[in-house]
């Protein structure tokens, strides 16, 4: 099964006439794993096939091409292959794309997380694929996530403690996915939440698909004090909640595992909660799927993953694609 890069982050399969996560003029079908900027096609001629939440997010983020929704587990047959979407556990609507054709099978992970984020449709993978194209954002053994329940209670505790001492808690989390996951985890506290505008407009999709985001409204500078605040890390340097005197800041991201982020962001707490799998989960997943070949993308350190796959006697190669480091 031949494929080549298209654009910065897409793949085009010339024999199959399809592309993944990127526009190609000759592709009749473009399958989109999820709606993050480094996976979403922008070209207006794109015929995008994706889950319904993904298509809704894409529209909200300015996608103007045509959109065709697919359900998880549903198989779409084209002239040359059949495509099935599997829930990727990364953000709402995120899918792994499974291609079956005469020349073999291929699983393209997009971004994924196993065990799945609770604010998604879960995680499920096919039993086997000949070829695996996997992201490896956290591809170093320094990355190993704590159990999700533990992180969830850290998040709740941070909010409660801050409010008790008269501080306004601010969670720094990426607009799409992480922000809503944090809100979902905080919902049981039952305290009003305000979310930064860019993330707010995406929340309705979560409502539509029955994910409880608690009692939330759009960020409003004048009366944000005393609420739980959610914003991307970049918002702080643009004056977000700068009128509130007593704040406590928690940075929620896989990158929070690195101590250096504390001073870079002047955060009070680092909560390493990621929407990607960690290094150990990645190797385990590869072993379980046992493909003939693994292509590694979205990492500055493919050699490390290759080194470990070699020990498992799994053939692998690096496929250079640009990742956008979301904060």
């Amino acid at each position: 099964m031949r494929f080549q890069k298209t654009g910065y982050h897409g793949l085009y399969f010339p024999e199959l006439g399809i592309s993944l996560d990127g526009y190609h003029p000759k592709a009749k079908y473009t399958f989109v794993s999820h709606a993050h900027a480094d996976h979403m096609p922008r070209n207006r001629s794109t015929r995008a096939y994706a889950t319904e939440p993904t298509l809704k997010f894409m529209k909200l983020r300015g996608f103007g091409g045509s959109a065709y929704s697919m359900a998880f587990g549903e198989t779409l047959n084209t002239d040359h292959c059949s495509i099935t979407l599997y829930p990727a556990g990364h953000i709402l609507g995120s899918a792994m794309i499974f291609i079956e054709s005469d020349t073999g099978s291929l699983l393209y992970t997009g971004d994924y997380r196993t065990p799945a984020s609770p604010a998604t449709e879960g995680f499920e993978a096919p039993g086997h694929a000949d070829i695996l194209i996997t992201e490896a954002t956290f591809a170093l053994p320094i990355y190993k996530w704590k159990p999700h329940d533990e992180l969830a209670s850290e998040i709740r505790l941070f909010a409660k403690e801050s409010l008790t001492t008269g501080h306004t808690p601010i969670f720094l989390a990426y607009n799409l996915g992480k922000a809503q996951e944090i809100m979902h985890l905080l919902a049981p506290i039952n305290h009003p939440v305000m979310i930064h505008g860019a993330g707010y407009k995406l929340c309705s999709v979560y409502d539509d698909f029955g994910i409880d985001l608690g009692n939330y409204s759009a960020y409003n500078r004048e009366d944000c004090e005393g609420k739980i605040l959610i914003a991307p890390a970049s918002a702080l340097s643009n004056g977000f909640a700068s009128n509130v005197r007593k704040t406590r800041i928690a940075y929620c991201s896989g990158w929070a595992a690195n101590e250096s982020r504390r001073t870079q962001l002047t955060a009070d707490k680092l909560i390493p909660i990621s929407d990607h799998l960690d290094f150990f989960e990645l190797i385990t997943f590869c072993k379980k799927l046992n493909p003939k070949k693994v292509y590694i993308t979205h990492t500055p350190n493919p050699a490390v993953v290759q080194h470990y796959l070699e020990q498992e006697k799994i053939d692998s190669a690096y496929l250079e694609m640009e990742a956008e480091q979301e904060d």
Binding site: P141, S260, R261, D268, N301
Partner: protein
């Protein structure tokens, strides 16, 4: 009961995770106050502010980052080059990398059985490392120590072995504030006792036992220097409250004498007496009463103060021969007096100290810096220009009412320095940052053009490495740009297509035969990122050479009129 190293590390980590200096100080003060034995108190203060060994001992564990990294890789059963190094690049910290690998990797977890080591145990392990020689012996000792530690202990154990900052935003000043707070003592007294004893541990014990007054200044023990702030950063309200001295193009030094013996100390409080036998002779011949001077060592020949670059030829040499002594004769020019008539006088005002200094230098014919009163900023201008003509660096403005603020950099002394030079350079390599800049490329090797230089094959050669002077936003923007320019990767270093032009500023150019260019820049830093310029616009090596020659050959005004100093 003894305190465990783990408890200590947990406090360190808590301080790391606390924002606000007072809250940090309180945490450590509470911990110190609860310690029972002198030994624990001594070690806790020392580990926090000095390292595994007391600064006075001069000992070092001599465990480099490669040694601990290699040991960790073996301990965790991972490949050093292939796995450990990229992890270290990602975190920007070797000790943090090791902590996390120890936490994550099953085969490392299996090997460890935490044993509640005490502070004394850890101090003993450091001692063993000091006594061991060879990487293999050190590795074995580290291995055995780590078997008994939790990951947090391992991280901070490695950091205290480095005899430096723990990198938790808690420096000596804060440790001293904690000691004062823990035992209800005056901060200033604690600070003074520390300066005199040179030991945080001793200071803590004296503070607890209410014996701080036992710490006294002694002749032949160096006192921390009073430092000056750049004038740009401080506003001068009333210029008439200051006096001006020229800022000599030399080396700061503190001279102690009791008439027979002389000792000279450098800015970093090292004994440099041996390098300057001519100064020692000068002072022993005069048989002074006991005294301590603050001043400057300068090369002085034919009535002229010669460039600092020439003094450098004397600085590294332990026992200079006759030839060097004749070629580069030096003088000690005094500008402050810290001890006389068997008592320290740094609590006196500058004017009073100056009077005493003038008496002694007058009586014994010792070089003393000229001091000028100031009435207006025009005076500053005139004196500043004259200082530059003398070949000096600029002016020092000193507050007449100020005491000698040893070890402090405040606004009582202000330096007016000549601006450094600047070049447009090309960015050649980007290096992964460490510490708070971990995870970004923050250090840059900058080059000048040798395209039309027949001596070189290359287009550009490095002239210096700069790691400051840019804003966070600029750093971000550069990092994005660098991504696109990367052509090669050498571990934490990226080789770049020559494209980004950086205007750098520096204090001085020095000859350095070991570099490709033959020159290095002193204190290079960013002035601007020149998005508007390209690789053809950068300065050439010839420009650098020309600048250097000009600065060396510049005529220096002799000292016969309006001198910057006089003989008593």
């Amino acid at each position: 009961m003894q305190t465990t190293f783990l408890q200590f590390c947990n406090i360190v980590q808590a301080i790391r995770e606390t924002r606000g200096n007072n809250a940090k100080i309180n945490l450590f003060a509470e911990y110190l106050a609860a310690l029972k034995s002198d030994s624990d108190l001594n070690l806790a203060a020392q580990f926090m502010g000095e390292g595994a060994f007391s600064e006075l001992s001069g000992k070092r564990a001599s465990v480099g980052s490669r040694t601990s990294g290699l040991t960790a890789a073996e301990f965790c059963e991972i490949d050093y080059d292939l796995v450990f190094k990229p992890c270290r690049t990602a975190t920007g910290s070797s000790s943090e990398t090791i902590e996390r690998l120890m936490e994550n990797i099953p085969s490392a977890i299996e090997k460890r059985a935490p044993a509640n080591l005490t502070l004394t145990d850890v101090s003993q392990i450091a001692e063993d490392l000091y006594n061991a020689s060879g990487r293999d012996n050190k590795k074995a000792l580290l291995w055995h120590a780590w078997e008994k530690m939790k990951p947090t202990e391992i991280k901070y154990f490695i950091r205290i072995l480095g005899q430096g900052s723990l990198r938790i935003g808690f420096e000596t000043r804060s440790v001293l504030a904690s000691i004062a707070k823990a035992f209800g003592q005056d901060r200033e007294e604690v600070r003074y006792a520390h300066m005199i004893t040179g030991s945080l541990g001793k200071t803590a014990i004296l503070a607890r036992e209410n014996r701080l007054d036992e710490a006294r200044f002694k002749l032949f023990h160096p006192l921390s220097f009073m430092l000056a702030s750049p004038i740009e950063s401080r506003s001068v309200e009333d210029i008439a409250k200051y006096v001006a001295e020229e800022k000599f193009d030399g080396m700061r030094a503190q001279l102690h004498t009791d008439g027979k013996q002389v000792k000279i100390f450098s800015r970093d409080l090292n004994d440099i007496t041996q390098s300057f036998p001519d100064i020692v002779n000068f002072f022993t011949e005069r048989e002074l009463p006991p005294a301590v001077f603050d001043g400057e060592i300068c090369v002085y020949k034919d009535n002229t103060i010669l460039p600092f670059q020439l003094l450098q030829k004397r600085m590294g040499i332990k026992k200079p021969g006759k030839k060097i002594l004749n070629q580069y004769p030096v003088l000690f020019i005094a500008y402050d007096l810290l001890y006389t008539e068997n008592r320290p006088i740094f609590d006196m005002k500058l004017t009073e100290r100056r009077n005493l200094l003038e008496q002694i230098t007058g009586q014994f014919n010792i070089p003393i810096a000229s001091q000028n009163s100031l009435n207006s900023t025009d005076d500053v201008e005139t004196l500043y220009n004259r200082a530059l003509e003398h070949g000096n660096e600029g002016l020092m403005l000193k507050l007449k009412e100020s005491v000698y603020e040893y070890g402090q950099r405040r606004k009582s002394w202000l330096k007016v320095k000549k601006p450094g030079g600047s070049f447009d350079t090309i960015m050649m390599y980007a290096h992964a940052g460490s510490g708070k800049r971990g995870g970004t490329y923050s250090d840059f090797t900058l080059g000048v053009s040798v395209k039309d230089d027949e001596r070189y094959e290359e287009e550009f050669i490095p002239i210096g490495k700069a790691y400051g002077g840019y804003s966070d936003d600029e750093l971000k923007k550069m990092n994005q740009k660098i991504k696109a320019l990367t052509v090669e990767r050498y571990g934490p270093t990226l080789g770049l297509i020559p494209s980004l032009v950086i205007e750098i500023e520096f204090d001085e150019i020095q000859v350095n035969k070991r570099t490709k260019a033959g020159y290095t820049l002193r204190f290079p830093r960013f002035r601007a990122i020149r998005w508007d310029l390209g690789p053809n616009d950068v300065n050439t090596l010839k420009d650098v050479e020309e600048y250097f020659n000009k600065s060396i050959e510049k005529e220096r005004l002799p000292q016969n009129q309006n001198p910057s100093f006089s003989f008593g």
